[in-house]
Amino acid sequence: MKVAYIFATTGHTVSYKLGRMILPQLEEDRHGADVVAMFFFEDNNYILRKGDPLGERLVKVAREKNILLMGCDQCCYERDIADKLFDGVLIGCFPDLYRALASNPPDQVITL
């Protein structure tokens, strides 16, 4: 099964659910689903900023497993980080996400 994650809420969304569950499972090849994309809203975008330790691990896994990483463009501009993200991480909005996923669509979209 192919899934896409949308990190929509703040709080422990990235530090806990991504950082302590999804990412380690991906690193250990035991997540149980093929992740095709992750899209980040609001403060969750800080993980995509160059230098973030969790982001370093995420980007490495994303490159290995061909996972699209995209930050919400408005959220990134609002936080002045749009041009400070890891190489290969895009900013965009729903049209960009859907276009990027058109050739490799997920079976399920999980909003966290």
Binding site: Y77, E78, D80, A82, I91, C93, P95
Partner: protein, 134 residues
């Protein structure tokens, strides 16, 4: 009344320009010069509306697809072009606009060319006053 050029091209962030674009009062009257820029692949569109008097841009407005990067570029152009000579505005290049708005990642900087394309199309249009609003 002829406006003075309001601002240098550079020095504003995409965040501030996007916020200004959201608050921009809409000019609903007819315009002398209307120009379009389109990117069908990305489904993006810009329309610039200008009033030009004796070679001077006296009023500028735009409509654009709701992409924050595109809106930021258009907002800066609309501020910058009011009060300027048409020759000066036609000399502006997309690279100038890209350089003026710091903080836009490379894969989004192509939006500047679309904004400049619409502005130049308006400047080069026939000058027939008409209403064309969406």
């Amino acid at each position: 009344m002829r406006p003075e050029p309001c601002c240098a091209l550079g020095g504003r962030s995409p965040r501030d320009l996007f916020e200004a674009a959201l608050r921009r009062p809409r000019w609903t009257g007819p315009s002398d010069h209307i120009g379009h820029g389109r990117d069908p692949a990305e489904k993006l569109e810009v329309i610039f509306y200008l009033d030009v008097d004796d070679g001077l841009v006296v009023r500028a407005d735009y409509r654009a697809t709701t992409c924050p990067t595109l809106l930021a570029y258009c907002e800066l152009l609309a501020h910058w072009v009011a009060g300027r000579r048409t020759e000066e505005a036609l000399a502006l290049r997309a690279a100038d606009l890209v350089a003026a708005v710091q903080g836009v990642p490379a894969h989004r900087q192509g939006r500047a060319a679309l904004a400049v394309e619409a502005l130049h199309a308006a400047l080069n249009s026939d000058g027939e006053r008409r209403s064309e609003r969406r």
